[in-house]
C-alpha cells in the first residue's frame, strides 16, 4: 500500500488530507529508518508488523524535520481560524478548532512544547467569541441556525480548554513577549532550558536535547576528538534521564538502546560502566515485549554486554551488583570504593539477566521453524550462551553467592543434561578457549574429567543448595543423563529413591515435563539394555494416556472431548514446548514401546485360554493395534513402524520367529537408538526366546510330547537354553508339563477343563475378588490402611512376586520393593503404580477426567 500511496502523495501537495499526510510521513520515516539503520537488520520486519501502533513512527519525527512540519500545521490551522473569524463562520471555526486541539495533543504526546501560537489563538478566540456572543444578543438579525449552534458549542469547548491550560494562558496574558521568548529558548539547542513550563516537561526536553546533542558529540568521540568533554557527571545524568523515560508510553526503545550504547563507550569509570551496562542490558530486554521472541541481533548484543558486565565485575571486585542494596544512594552521584565502604554495591541483578538471556534463547528456538537453516544458525549461538553462563557461574562462585550460583549452575545443567558426551565436550572446549581461566574452575570439564562427572558435580552442587525446586530439577536432569548414558540401574535407583512419583503432581508444569522426559528416557535405557519387561512397564504408563506428545511437551494439546482451551492456556502451553533439538524421537519411542509390548504380551496372550482373560491381560494400546491388524483382510508390505511391529507380532503368534525377527530388524528407526547393532542382537535373541514360549503356549494342547531337540532346531537355540526356558515355565507353573530326561522330551500333562469346571473357577475367582474388595472397603472406612498392618507386610509382599505368569509379575517386582528403598518410614505401603505426571493437563477440565481414568489404571 505504501508504495502506491506515496507516489500519489508526492503528486499532491499540502492540500492532501491530514490522515494521508500522516501515513505518508510514516512511510517516509520508515524509509529513512531503513537507510539509516542498515546495520540493524531484522528490526525492520518488526517495525512493519507493529506499524499500526503508530507511536514509534511518530517518534521518528522528533529527530526529523517533522517537528517543524507540525508547528507549521498548527500555524496553518490558526490562520484558517483567523480567516473564518473574520467572516464569522463558526462552523468552520469549530472544525478548525477541533483540528487544532488534536494537533496540540499530538504535540504533547511526543513531548514537545506547545507553540505559544496556540495559547495566543486561544486567547484571541476567547475574546472574539465573547464579542460575537455579545453581538448576537444585541443583533436584530439572528444568525443562521447551524452557525448559532456551532457558536454555542464552541463556547463550551473553549471554556473547557481554557481551564485546562489556565496557567499558560495567565502567563501569556501577563506578558505575551516573555512567553514567546521562553518558548524560543526551549527550542534553541545550546541553551539550557529554564523551568518555564511544567517541571516534567523540562526533563523530557532535556533528554530530547541531549539525544540530539549527544548524538553529534558521540560521532566526534568516535573520531577521538572530544571524548574528554564527557565528564562523569554528564554520563550519569544522561543515564538518569534515560531511565526516567523508560517504561513510558512513547519512549523510543531502540533509540534508548542506541544512546546507552554510546554512553557505555563514553563511560569513564568502572562505576559508570557498570551502571550504563545494567541500564543497557535491561533496555535490550525491554526492546519489544510484544514479539514472540527477542530479535536475534538484540539478543547477541545483550549477550555481549552481559559478558562485558561480568568481566568488569570480575576484574574489579570492589564493585558488586546486588539485588537489595541497603544503603540508599543517589543515581546522580559518582561512587567509588572508600575505606569505610570498601565495596560499592549497585542495585541490579546479574542472575536475572542470565536467566532472561537463556529464556529468550529458548523462546527463539521455540518459534523458529526447526527444519530451516535459521534454526541451525540459531542453535550455533548456544555455544556463546553456554560461555556466558559459565562465566557467570565463575563470577558467582568467586563472589560466593550461593543462591545465584545454584541458579546459574542449573541453567548450565539444563543446557547439557540431554546432550551426548561429544556435544558436551565440544561445548566445554568452546568455553575453555573463550575463557582460559575457566579450566581452573572446579566445575569445568578439564577438572572433572568426563561429562558424567561434570553433571554429577553440578547436580551435587544443586542438591546442596537449599531450593527444593532446583533440587528436584537437578535430580531429574541427573536421572535423564544417567538414562541417556545407559546407566539404567543407577537412574532407576535414583528415581525411586527420590520419591518423586509421590510428589510430582504438585510440581509446576515445567518440572512435570522434565519428569516425564526422564521417565521416558529411563524406559528407553531399559530397552537398550535388553530389559524388556522394565521398558514395557515404564513406557506403558505414558503410552496409555495417549497423550505422549503433550506430556513430553513436544506438541500441542489435541482438541478432544470438546475441551476447548482458552487463549491464555494455549499460550502457556506453547511457551512450555521443548525446543526441537531436545525432542525425544517419538517414533523411536513408540517402536521401543510396541516391540517390548510384543515381547511381553504375545506370549501372555498365548498362555490364556479364554477371550475374557485375554482382554484383561493385554495393554490397551497394543491390544487395539493388534485387533485392528487382525481385522485386515489383506496385509500389504509394512510401511511404517506400527505396520512392521504388528506384522511381526502376528508372525510371532504363528511361531514364525524368523519372519518376526526380519520385520523387526528391518525397521529403519533403530538407526536412532545409539547402539543399533547391539539392540538388534538383543531383539533377535529375545524374539527367539519368546518365540519358544509362545509356541509352547499355543500348541501345547495339541501335543503330548515335544522333543527338546526339535524345539532347539526350530528356534535356533541351544538345547541348553531351550531346556532352561522350558524349566522356567514348568517351575513357574505356566506350563503343565515335565521334562523327561531320558528321552529328551517335554511331556505335557495338561488337562482340558470342561465348561462347568471353567465356570466354577471363574466363580471362585469372582467371589474371592468380592471378599477382597469388601475388605479393602472396610479398611478404607476404618482407617489405617495397609500401613497399619505393621512392618511384616513388606516381607510378605515379596512372596507373591515370584509369579511371573503374567506380564505384571516382573514389572511389579521392579517397582514395589524399590520404592521402599531408603524410606524407613514407608515400609509396607503397597506400590501405588508408577505415576506419570499428567503434565499439562492438571489445570484443565479435561485433566481431571484423565487423572481419574489413570488412577483406575494404576489401581
Amino acid at each position: 500500500m505504501s508504495r502506491f500511496l506515496r507516489t500519489a502523495g508526492e503528486g499532491s501537495d499540502d492540500e492532501s488530507s491530514e490522515e494521508e499526510e500522516e501515513e505518508l510521513s510514516d512511510d517516509d520515516d520508515d524509509d529513512e529508518e531503513k537507510e539509516e539503520q542498515k546495520k540493524v537488520p531484522g528490526s525492520r520486519f518488526l517495525k512493519g508488523a507493529d506499524s499500526d501502533s503508530e507511536s514509534e513512527e511518530e517518534e521518528k519525527k522528533v529527530v526529523k524535520s517533522a517537528k517543524d512540519k507540525r508547528v507549521e500545521e498548527i500555524e496553518a490551522c490558526a490562520k484558517s481560524m483567523d480567516n473564518a473569524l473574520k467572516i464569522n463562520d463558526w462552523v468552520k471555526i469549530s472544525d478548525d478548532y477541533d483540528k487544532l486541539i488534536r494537533l496540540v495533543q499530538r504535540q504533547v504526546l511526543v513531548n514537545e512544547a506547545t507553540p505559544p501560537l496556540y495559547i495566543k489563538t486561544l486567547v484571541d478566540l476567547e475574546s472574539s467569541l465573547n464579542a460575537a456572543l455579545a453581538k448576537e444578543k444585541t443583533a436584530s438579525k439572528k444568525m443562521q441556525a447551524n452557525n448559532a449552534r456551532a457558536l454555542n458549542a464552541m463556547r463550551s469547548k473553549l471554556r473547557k480548554t481554557l481551564k485546562e491550560s489556565e496557567d499558560q494562558v495567565k502567563l501569556y496574558q501577563e506578558d505575551p513577549e516573555a512567553f514567546e521568548r521562553a518558548y524560543q529558548a526551549q527550542q534553541a539547542p545550546e541553551v539550557v532550558p529554564t523551568p518555564a513550563v511544567k517541571a516534567k516537561k523540562v526533563r523530557v526536553e532535556l533528554e530530547d536535547e541531549e539525544e540530539g546533542g549527544d548524538g553529534d558529540e558521540f560521532t566526534t568521540v568516535g573520531k577521538g576528538g572530544k571524548a574528554l568533554s564527557f565528564t562523569a557527571d554528564q554520563v550519569l545524568k544522561t543515564l538518569a534521564a534515560v531511565s526516567e523515560a523508560r517504561g513510558k508510553k512513547n519512549t523510543d526503545r531502540a533509540e534508548q538502546s542506541r544512546i546507552l550504547e554510546k554512553l557505555a563507550e563514553a563511560a569513564g569509570t568502572t562505576y559508570q560502566e557498570i551502571r550504563v551496562l545494567l541500564a543497557l542490558i535491561s533496555s535490550r530486554f525491554d526492546y519489544n515485549p510484544m514479539a514472540t521472541f527477542m530479535p536475534l541481533d538484540a539478543w547477541a548484543s545483550a549477550k555481549g554486554e552481559i559478558d562485558q558486565l561480568v568481566k568488569v565485575l570480575m576484574a574489579d571486585p570492589q564493585y558488586a551488583v546486588v539485588e537489595d542494596v541497603t544503603l540508599e544512594y543517589s543515581d546522580l552521584d559518582e561512587r567509588a570504593p572508600t575505606k569505610e565502604v570498601p565495596v560499592v554495591r549497585i542495585r541490579g541483578s546479574v542472575i536475572s539477566f542470565v536467566d532472561r538471556l537463556d529464556d529468550e534463547f529458548t523462546r527463539s528456538l521455540q518459534n523458529i521453524d526447526p527444519h530451516g537453516q535459521e534454526y541451525v544458525e540459531r542453535l550455533k549461538d548456544e555455544r556463546g550462551l553456554y560461555e556466558t553462563i559459565c562465566r557467570a557461574q565463575m563470577y558467582f562462585e568467586q563472589k560466593d553467592e550461593g543462591e545465584s550460583a545454584a541458579r546459574v549452575a542449573y541453567r548450565r545443567l539444563d543446557h547439557i543434561y540431554s546432550k551426548p558426551d561429544v556435544l558436551i565436550q565440544a561445548l566445554e572446549q568452546g568455553v575453555v578457549t573463550a575463557i582460559p581461566e575457566f579450566s581452573q574452575s572446579p566445575s569445568s570439564l578439564s577438572v572433572t574429567g568426563s561429562s558424567a562427572v561434570l553433571i554429577d558435580a553440578l547436580c551435587k552442587q544443586l542438591y546442596k543448595s537449599g531450593q527444593p525446586f532446583l533440587r528436584t530439577r537437578a535430580m531429574l536432569s541427573h536421572i535423564y543423563h544417567h538414562a541417556l548414558a545407559n546407566n539404567f540401574e543407577t537412574a532407576r535407583d535414583m528415581m525411586l529413591m527420590s520419591h518423586l512419583q509421590d510428589s510430582i503432581h504438585a510440581a509446576d508444569a515445567g518440572t512435570q515435563i522434565l519428569y516425564n522426559r526422564a521417565v521416558v528416557q529411563l524406559g528407553l535405557a531399559a530397552f537398550r539394555q535388553g530389559l524388556v519387561r522394565e521398558a514395557h512397564s515404564i513406557l506403558q504408563e505414558i503410552f496409555s494416556t495417549q497423550r505422549v506428545k503433550e506430556l513430553l511437551a513436544q506438541g500441542l494439546h489435541q482438541q478432544r472431548y470438546g475441551v476447548i482451551l482458552t487463549p491464555e492456556q494455549e499460550k502457556s502451553d506453547r511457551a512450555r514446548q521443548m525446543p526441537f533439538h531436545m525432542h525425544i524421537n517419538l517414533e523411536l519411542l513408540e517402536a521401543a514401546f510396541l516391540v517390548s509390548c510384543m515381547l511381553v504380551e504375545v506370549p501372555t496372550l498365548a498362555s490364556l485360554d479364554t477371550e475374557e482373560q485375554r482382554r484383561k491381560a493385554a495393554s490397551k494400546p497394543f491390544r487395539r493395534l493388534l485387533d485392528y491388524a487382525e481385522r485386515q483382510v489383506f496385509m500389504g508390505p509394512p510401511e511404517h513402524t506400527r505396520d512392521h511391529i504388528m506384522q511381526a507380532s502376528r508372525a510371532l503368534q504363528d511361531g514364525e520367529w524368523e519372519k518376526c525377527r526380519d520385520l523387526i530388524e528391518g525397521m529403519k528407526v533403530w538407526s536412532l537408538i545409539g547402539n543399533e547393532k547391539q539392540v538388534k542382537e538383543m531383539l533377535a535373541q529375545r524374539i527367539q526366546e519368546e518365540g519358544v514360549r509362545t509356541y509352547l503356549f499355543t500348541f501345547a494342547p495339541y501335543y503330548t510330547t515335544v522333543s527338546l531337540e526339535l524345539l532347539s532346531k526350530t528356534f535356533s537355540l541351544s538345547v541348553r537354553s531351550v531346556t532352561s526356558i522350558v524349566s522356567k515355565m514348568i517351575w513357574n507353573e505356566e506350563l503343565a508339563a515335565s521334562l523327561d530326561q531320558e528321552t529328551g522330551v517335554v511331556v505335557f500333562t495338561r488337562t482340558e477343563l470342561t465348561r462347568v469346571q471353567q465356570l466354577a473357577q471363574a466363580l471362585a475367582d469372582r467371589v474371592s475378588n468380592l471378599v477382597e474388595s469388601n475388605e479393602k472397603a472396610l479398611d478404607a472406612k476404618l482407617g489405617g490402611g495397609p500401613e497399619a498392618r505393621g512392618p511384616g507386610e513388606g516381607g510378605k509382599t515379596g512372596e507373591r512376586k515370584e509369579g511371573g505368569a503374567t506380564g505384571a509379575g516382573g514389572e511389579r517386582r521392579f517397582d514395589r520393593t524399590r520404592t521402599q528403598r531408603t524410606g524407613a518410614a514407608r515400609t509396607g505401603t503397597g506400590f501405588r503404580g508408577e505415576r506419570f505426571s499428567q503434565g499439562l493437563g492438571n489445570n484443565r477440565v479435561g485433566g481431571a477426567q484423565n487423572a481419574g481414568a489413570r488412577t483406575r489404571v494404576a489401581a
Binding site: S727, W731, A736, T806, G828
Partner: protein, 491 residues
C-alpha cells in the same frame, strides 16, 4: 580367590578391634601378600592402646629395626590413665555393688538417678566415669572388663548419645570376648535403639530445623544400620540360632533397603544363611526367605555378585543346572576361605544340593541318576545314596521311585484336580466375610477395632498377582507340610 574376598569392603564398617580377627584370618589364607597384611595389622593396632601387641607386630614387620619410642611413653601413659579412670569408676562401683543399693534400684532410670544422687552423692560425671573406664579398657583389649563396665553404665545413664555409643561398645566387647548369647541380646537392643532413633528424633527435627536435619538423621540411621549389618555377622554366624535371626532381621524392609543401598556384599551372607537354614527352620518361612533372597539377588546382580548369589540366580532364575553346578563348586572354595562362613561349608553344600535336586525333581519326570549325581558334584555311588536319602527324608517319597534297571528316577506327580483348586480358592472366604461382619459390628459398638494382621488380608493387586499367590499356596500344599488353612490366620 582374592577376587571374592570381602575383607577390604567390610573393614571400613567395622571397629578397629573387630577388624583384627578378620585380618588374622585373611593372613592365614595367603591370598594376599603377607607383608601387606602385616603392615595393615600393625597400622590397626598402633592406634589402639594394645601396646604389647603392637610392639610384637612391629617386630614381626621390621625384625631389624628398633622399636619406636612412642610405645614406651604410650605404655606408661596408658597405665596412669587406667589407674586414674579406675579410681573414678570404682567410686560408682562401690555404691552400686552395695546390696542395699542394688535392691533399691528400679526400672525407672530417672528415679534411680535421683535415688543415687540423694543417698550416695553420685553425679552424672561420676556415672560417666563408668563409660570412660569401660571404653578405655576396650582400647587395650580387656573386652570382658569393658563389657562389664558398660553394662553398669547402661543401666544407670540416661544420656541418649553416650548410651548408644556404650551399646556399640558393649556389643563389640561381647563379640570379642566370644559371649554370643549376650551379644545377641545386645544386638536386639541395639537394633531397637537404631530403629527408634529416627522416630524419636525426626518429629523434633522436622518441627524446628527442617529438611536438612531430618535427612541427616536418616543418614545417621542408614549408617547405623550399615554398621549393624556388618557387626551382627560376627554374632549371627556364631550363635546357634543366629542364621534364623539373621534372615529375620536382614529381610525386614528397612535392612533390606540398607543392604541394597549401601552394602550389597552383605547379600552373600544373606544368601548363604538362607541356604543353610533350609532344614532347620519352619519350612514355609525359609522357602520364602530363599525366594526373597533370589529376588534381591536378581535385582542387585548389576551391583554385586559372587558364586553364592550366582548359584541361586542360576538355579532359580535361569534354571541352568549345569551353570549352577559350576557356581556351587566355586562357592565351595569361597566358603572355605570366608571368615564367617568357613564353619558352614558342609551344611551349605548339603542344603544347596537339596535345592538343586528339589528343583530338578519338580521339573523332570524321568531323571538319569548319573546326571543328577553330576549336577550335585557327587560321584555315582554317593549320588545314589544321596538320592535314596532324599526320597526317604522328604515327602517326595510317594511320587518318586528309583528304577535301577534303567538307572533312572521316575517321578509321577499326580496333578491336582480342578475341584481341589476351586476349594483352595474359596476356602476361608466365609470366615473372612464373617470377620468383616464382626469388625463392622465392633466399629458400630464404638470399640477400637483390632484387626488380625493375617497375610491374607493384604490388599492384592491384579489378577496376575493373585494367581501367583494362589499357586503359591498350592505349592505349599503340594510340597510341604500342609499349612494351616488360610482362614485360620485371620484371628
Amino acid at each position: 580367590m582374592a577376587t571374592y574376598d570381602l575383607t577390604q569392603r567390610m573393614i571400613p564398617y567395622l571397629d578397629r578391634h573387630l577388624a583384627l580377627p578378620l585380618l588374622a584370618h585373611v593372613s592365614e589364607l595367603s591370598i594376599f601378600p603377607a607383608k601387606q597384611l602385616q603392615e595393615a595389622q600393625y597400622e590397626l593396632a598402633r592406634r589402639t592402646n594394645m601396646v604389647d601387641y603392637s610392639v610384637s607386630l612391629f617386630e614381626q614387620l621390621h625384625p631389624s629395626d628398633e622399636v619406636p619410642e612412642e610405645f614406651g611413653s604410650k605404655r606408661s601413659n596408658v597405665e596412669t590413665t587406667n589407674e586414674r579412670l579406675q579410681k573414678e569408676a570404682q567410686v560408682v562401683l562401690d555404691v552400686i555393688e552395695n546390696p542395699e543399693v542394688a535392691q533399691a534400684l528400679r526400672q525407672d532410670k530417672m528415679q534411680n538417678l535421683n535415688y543415687l544422687r540423694e543417698k550416695h552423692n553420685l553425679t552424672h560425671e561420676e556415672i560417666n566415669a563408668l563409660y570412660h573406664f569401660g571404653q578405655f579398657q576396650y582400647t587395650y583389649g580387656n573386652y570382658s572388663g569393658a563389657a562389664q563396665f558398660l553394662y553398669h553404665f547402661l543401666v544407670l545413664s540416661t544420656d541418649p548419645e553416650l548410651n548408644l555409643s556404650a551399646q556399640w561398645g558393649k556389643l563389640a566387647s561381647d563379640i570379642l570376648s566370644g559371649d554370643w548369647q549376650t551379644a545377641k541380646d545386645e544386638l536386639d537392643r541395639l537394633r531397637e535403639a537404631i530403629d527408634n532413633r529416627s522416630t524419636s528424633l525426626v518429629p523434633a527435627a522436622s518441627a524446628g530445623v527442617g529438611i536438612d536435619s531430618a535427612s541427616s538423621t536418616a543418614l545417621a540411621q542408614l549408617q547405623g544400620r550399615t554398621w549393624y549389618l556388618h557387626w551382627s555377622l560376627f554374632v549371627y554366624f556364631n550363635h546357634p540360632e543366629g542364621r534364623h535371626a539373621l534372615l529375620e532381621v536382614f529381610l525386614s524392609p528397612a535392612y533390606l533397603n540398607t543392604i541394597q543401598t549401601s552394602c550389597p556384599w552383605i547379600l552373600r551372607y544373606l544368601a548363604a544363611a538362607a541356604v543353610i537354614s533350609r532344614k532347620t527352620a519352619t519350612s514355609g518361612r525359609i522357602r520364602h526367605a530363599v525366594k526373597e533372597v533370589v529376588r534381591v539377588v536378581q535385582m542387585e546382580n548389576y551391583q554385586y555378585h559372587d558364586p553364592i548369589t550366582d548359584f541361586l540366580k542360576m538355579l532359580f532364575i535361569d534354571f541352568d543346572f549345569e551353570a549352577a553346578q559350576k557356581e556351587l563348586g566355586e562357592a565351595e572354595k569361597l566358603i572355605e576361605n570366608d571368615f564367617f562362613l568357613q564353619n558352614f561349608k558342609d551344611e551349605f553344600l548339603d542344603n544347596a544340593r537339596y535345592f538343586i535336586s528339589e528343583a530338578y525333581c519338580r521339573i523332570h519326570r524321568q531323571i538319569d541318576i548319573a546326571d543328577l549325581s553330576a549336577r550335585l558334584n557327587l560321584s555315582r555311588s554317593e549320588g545314589e545314596k544321596w538320592i535314596v536319602n532324599l526320597i526317604r527324608d522328604t515327602r517326595m517319597g510317594a511320587d518318586a521311585k528309583i528304577d535301577l534297571s534303567r538307572n533312572i528316577i521316575v517321578i509321577d506327580k499326580p496333578h491336582a484336580p480342578v475341584y481341589q483348586s476351586v476349594i483352595e480358592r474359596t476356602r476361608g472366604l466365609s470366615f473372612r466375610t464373617q470377620a468383616l461382619g464382626v469388625a463392622m459390628q465392633r466399629r458400630a459398638m464404638g470399640e477400637a477395632v483390632q484387626r488380625g494382621g493375617g497375610g491374607d488380608r493384604r490388599p492384592r493387586g491384579d489378577r496376575g498377582d493373585r494367581g501367583a499367590a494362589d499357586r503359591e499356596r498350592e505349592q505349599q500344599q503340594e510340597h510341604l507340610v500342609p499349612p494351616a488353612p488360610a482362614a485360620v490366620e485371620v484371628a
